[in-house]
Symmetry: C2
Subunit: 225 residues, 2 copies
DNA sequence: ATATATTTGTGTATAAATTACACATAATGA
DNA sequence: TCATTATGTGTAATTTATACACAAATATAT
């Protein structure tokens, strides 16, 4: 064979959320190409592992993060996207809960850091395009799949959910109508626990009931905001 | 290198439509594995071609079809999906207009044929799964993207569109309300041409105005049925 | 040529969903 | 105890979706 084979990699755009900010997990590359530049975590797929396994392995190896939700995003395969040769990358997008924040750098990563999604550094390869695709997907999907809960703590006050949606959708929402709608979807359990952060009336905690959600979905009842 | 490299292929689920029937383009495999069995068209990606080019090339080579609409579907990468070794396949889904029906068999195809989507034969590899994914995507997307027009002739009577949606959505729709809605979307040009097929009042022809659609989309006006 | 069958084309009234909007409650802190 | 801050709740107005029937234009059969 005269030509080198096509290589297959996986990359993951990992979103976090805290205090009204969407953040993205990036690594600083330790090696060429793009040494010292920021990139989304990822790496080559090994011969006998599934794509999902590869993503999870790379994320763990490079950043120490435990992903909460993972879905395939898109496969990027332009011939010149990697200067090392032909590399096709299957991109994933993932969501993590806020207090999974015990990240560390390892293997090809010199540094790992959360970046506010509107203060992103220059990225390596075509990672900017991958990231944009992921943001679009997240914003699009949040209205018809209950992804938001994957970004919040298991138990959360309603205002957290509200703020999250305000952030993700990039526009104000009516507090009363939003609550009415979400409660009407019947996928939240209201707990008998209150939490109070700072001044103001303490808030009741809620919990997403995934089981009920899947039940309703099976019955053809759709989640939509 | 002791292990063989991962190979990359593309496959395409191509949908056609005629007379109230969704059809899928399949080839009968000429070689092992799965020799003599039906499969969706596809093949290995060459070193310097983009994924889209690879799909279009394979489709042309194997079936002679000219695709009208093509989008990436999903990448299938389970380690054991191909008995020849590790093959990861980027699947696409395509739509063709009815009178592009000059198909022929070539290269690895012994035969090419349109199958009614609810009378499909047993398929090779994990192609059943790929096909199901494509059908889901088509049905899901048809309501919020104007894909339907890609399956009709450029000029079509309104009833064609209506029948197409009835078929794709798998349920009856109210003729008057449907027409009201579609006309209200402002993406159809009504032509001064009539067509009459068989008995009944002749129908006016319509044409999808792609330019206007993109204009409206840019203005944030969404297509939804 | 006349009647019958077939398909296209159109409006209105009702129901359902979405939106707009304001004040009481429970806590903190000065 | 008074001011401040965040939570929690209902109703009316508007918009959108649904249900529904008959006239117009042609082909076909008698």
């Amino acid at each position: 064979m005269s030509k080198q084979a096509i290589k297959l990699s996986v990359d993951a755009v990992v979103f976090g959320y805290e205090e009204g900010n969407i953040s993205v997990l990036l690594i600083k590359r330790k090696f060429e190409p793009f040494k010292g530049q920021w990139a989304i975590p990822g790496g080559f797929v090994e011969h006998d592992e599934s794509l999902e396994t590869a993503v999870e392995r790379e994320l763990l190896e490079e950043t120490g993060i435990k992903i909460n939700y993972l879905e395939q995003l898109y496969t990027f395969g332009k011939p010149k996207r990697d200067p090392r040769g032909r590399v096709v990358s299957v991109a994933y997008f993932g969501l993590v809960r806020p207090n999974t924040f015990d990240i560390f750098a390892a293997t090809d990563a010199e540094q790992v850091q959360w970046f506010n999604s509107n203060e992103l550094p220059k990225l390596s390869f075509d990672h900017k395009e991958i990231l944009n695709t992921a943001i679009e997907r997240l914003q699009g999907k949040i209205t018809y799949e209950p992804l938001g809960f994957e970004l919040l703590d298991k138990k959360f006050p309603f205002s957290d959910l509200e703020k999250l949606y305000t952030t993700l959708l990039g526009r104000d929402i009516d507090r009363r109508n939003f609550r009415k709608k979400i409660i009407g979807l019947n996928v939240l359990d209201e707990l008998n626990e209150k939490v109070s952060k700072g001044s103001g009336r303490p808030a009741n905690l809620f919990q997403f009931n995934k089981k009920r959600y899947f039940q309703l979905k099976k019955e053809g009842i759709i989640f939509e905001i």
